[in-house]
Subunit: 437 residues, 2 copies
């Protein structure tokens, strides 16, 4: 085990290098604390653009940024690749895959993972898309299934490979549906001249009566209109019953034959062992007080997707979006310093900056407070906001070039299968491709 911290400063451990964790570390720069960030990956993931990695419009590395590099200039920051397996609040220790680490202040910024609501069949057969490896797996599956479709002789045999069913019509589902429709409309005829684009179908399913549930009705309606214009089949008020890997079934009896089910119907917080079960509320989130402190503990905080700050205005907690994590992270970083200095902590106040979702080229929806607009201008705003939010100058430039290239050519992106996706077992480089005939 590494030598323990011998510094005279309090040790702040941040678990997770997502939007929230990053912000805590930033707020603690040049402050009298030692910061240790733990993450199972050595990079930050810009989740809002994961769907473009999945469809091959962007490389994974353009939406990720090295956590070490990001804090190159922050003297009190250290980073370790580690997974936290548990918390011992009595001993002020986290158990991790690289051993135990002592903390004076702990920030749980572990985010969320896909919620399959207990359905093991769906969990096994549908594709989640919450991390870069998952988005890459999805990309490889989509491309492999297009290749499989080419090898089939009849429309019926091709059908399951060319039907794409997206469950969950939140921003992720909507954006992915739009991107798949563009792939069908513009790329398929060029890259797969053997296939008839009309045979590829994109279904977007939700159990709610609208797409983009939390958005305004104007935004929802416009998004649905945009999607349908692009050829996406939007199925609302539909509840998924099961998915066995070949057929997805819905309550009421409808079924679709498909090898491509992408599940973005819900998330749940990732809570380390050791946090009292009584503090866990709906969505597997940890109840926190008005300074994001885990109830009952003086020095453990939780922020972002894994935290539920329940107030009269937010009876289910704050929305599980990047802005919540960023603002909570900033607040917690500052409050840790207040607490160390014996100053009163400042209650967290959420500043709703609004919501954006894009559907495709020239098409997006924006709810910015009372200002709501849809279409080309919303799309420009969406691009601008995402570009400036990306970590790293290089990433901004590379993503911008990719977008310009895609816009001009209608055939951008790199649709490469770097590592073949095989369910359950990740293949060796030289593993033969299974026979299909």
């Amino acid at each position: 085990m590494e030598l323990t911290n011998t510094s005279k400063y309090p040790q702040v451990i941040i678990v997770g290098g997502g939007f929230g964790g990053l912000q805590v570390a930033k707020a603690l720069a040049n402050k009298p604390v030692d910061v240790l960030m733990l993450d199972k990956h050595n990079y930050h993931t810009f989740q809002p653009l994961l769907y473009q990695v999945a469809t091959g419009s962007l490389e994974a590395e353009s939406i990720a940024f090295s956590l070490r590099k990001n804090f190159d200039n922050q003297k009190n920051f250290r980073f370790r690749i580690a997974e936290v397996t548990g918390v011992d609040p009595e001993a002020q220790v986290v158990h991790t895959t690289i051993g135990d680490r002592h903390y004076d202040y702990l920030v749980i910024a572990t985010g969320s993972t896909t919620n399959f609501f207990g359905n093991k069949d769906i969990e096994h057969n549908a594709m989640p898309m919450k991390s870069i490896p998952e988005a890459l797996n999805l990309r490889y599956l989509i491309l492999q299934n297009l290749e499989e479709a080419v090898l089939q002789n009849t429309k019926e045999d091709r059908e399951p490979y060319l039907n794409f069913v997206l469950v969950g019509a939140g921003p992720t589902g909507v954006e992915l549906a739009g991107a798949l429709a563009e792939l069908r409309n513009h790329v398929l005829c060029k890259d797969y001249p053997e296939l008839d684009a009309r045979e590829m179908r994109v279904y977007l399913v939700d159990f709610l009566p609208k797409v983009l549930g939390p958005f305004s009705d104007e935004a929802s309606n416009a998004a649905k209109r945009f999607l349908e214009k692009m050829g996406v089949e939007v199925m609302l008020n539909m509840k998924v019953q099961n998915y066995d890997g070949t057929t997805i079934s819905f309550e009421g009896g409808k079924t679709i034959r498909t090898k491509n089910v992408i599940w973005s119907a819900g998330v749940m917080g990732v809570v380390p062992e050791g946090i009292s079960k009584e503090l866990i509320v709906k969505g597997n989130r940890i109840m926190v007080d008005n300074i994001c402190r885990v109830k009952g503990y003086s020095n453990i905080f939780a922020i972002g997707d894994v935290a539920a700050m329940i107030t009269p205005e937010t009876p289910k907690g704050h929305p599980g979006v990047a802005q919540t994590a960023i603002q909570m992270g900033d607040s917690v970083g500052k409050n840790i310093i207040h607490i160390i200095r014996g100053e009163p902590a400042e209650p967290f106040k959420y500043n709703d900056k609004g919501s954006l979702a894009t559907i495709g080229r020239n098409k997006a929806v924006a709810d910015l407070g009372k200002i709501k607009f849809q279409g080309f201008f919303a799309w420009l705003v969406w691009m601008f906001v995402h570009l400036i939010s990306l970590l790293g100058f290089r990433n901004k430039v590379v993503v911008f070039i990719n977008w310009v290239g895609s816009y001009l050519s209608n055939n951008g992106g790199t649709r490469l299968i770097i590592r073949r996706y095989v369910k359950e077992a990740v293949p060796q480089e030289n593993e033969p491709i299974p026979h299909t005939d």
Copy 2:
């Protein structure tokens, strides 16, 4: 199985989408043949820049290009992801992982793989770097070992993680040695402030008395001088005895403790089953006549690394470089048309365009016929030649931006561990990182 080709044109099957295979297909554009390219990957790999993927300077996707996309506009071209498991020259059929395919003309452009000269220990423990998945594995191993080094308490414990031994001082070994030295000299102190850069050591080993064996003495000497100036320890006339995963041993008794051995000491052709063993010469290459036709067959060709055209001027065949493959590919494409038209085939003539190798920033060597130069101007030429040779405008722009960024910042690139490398078994996304303490 797919419906067989019902076209009236002869079927040309090209096995492999490397430099040679691409060129054959290009030469057959708009000609009265049907072209089917088979490759186990759906992309072309620009092998000369693999080492920059391994050190995290470039993303994998910048040096790869979709084979389907590359031939979007070529009407007589089809592509399938498939591995060829054998050739049946009597039946004019290739056996593949997607079934049998009939050919009228077959071009074997399968390239080469790493040659461990039969040493199973080395094959199991050392890292090859001939494909994108291999280069990524190497990147992940290098980064993981730096992370491991951080977790160790003593210089002795850190030593095997921080010693890098490159076996084979050809262009690949030299370029990788330079890139690792730059990582040590410029990046380590920023990204890993816990480590002392002097503890990281880069060894470049060859059994020959010079680096860059086939280059001029001027180039070799300059490359060695550049490398040593950057802190690479060049060990010549050294023959590796064994490597058990922790210690590499050399004839004469010297040993180095290291977890990082990269093997670029030799290559061997990838020959499909069914080609007569009598035609295989040293380096596992297939003997071909003066039009790259496999000896004894009228309609099977072999080009590039897998072909040996033995002439008085080339007693061991042509050099295993991109130029050989490109020129042979072009020649074979044209000769297939000549043969179909009943015209005489044109013997292959190799045009040696010279050799380039870079060692690091502002440092390269160039042997262009009688013109030999080293240093900054050679480095500009190296960059220019590699940029224009890359497939795809987007790739050229992205690589250029990355290079400019790295040059200005001395800390470019994306050193991300997207999928943890584990020997033998590729891990699941959530596999815990093994304990080290």
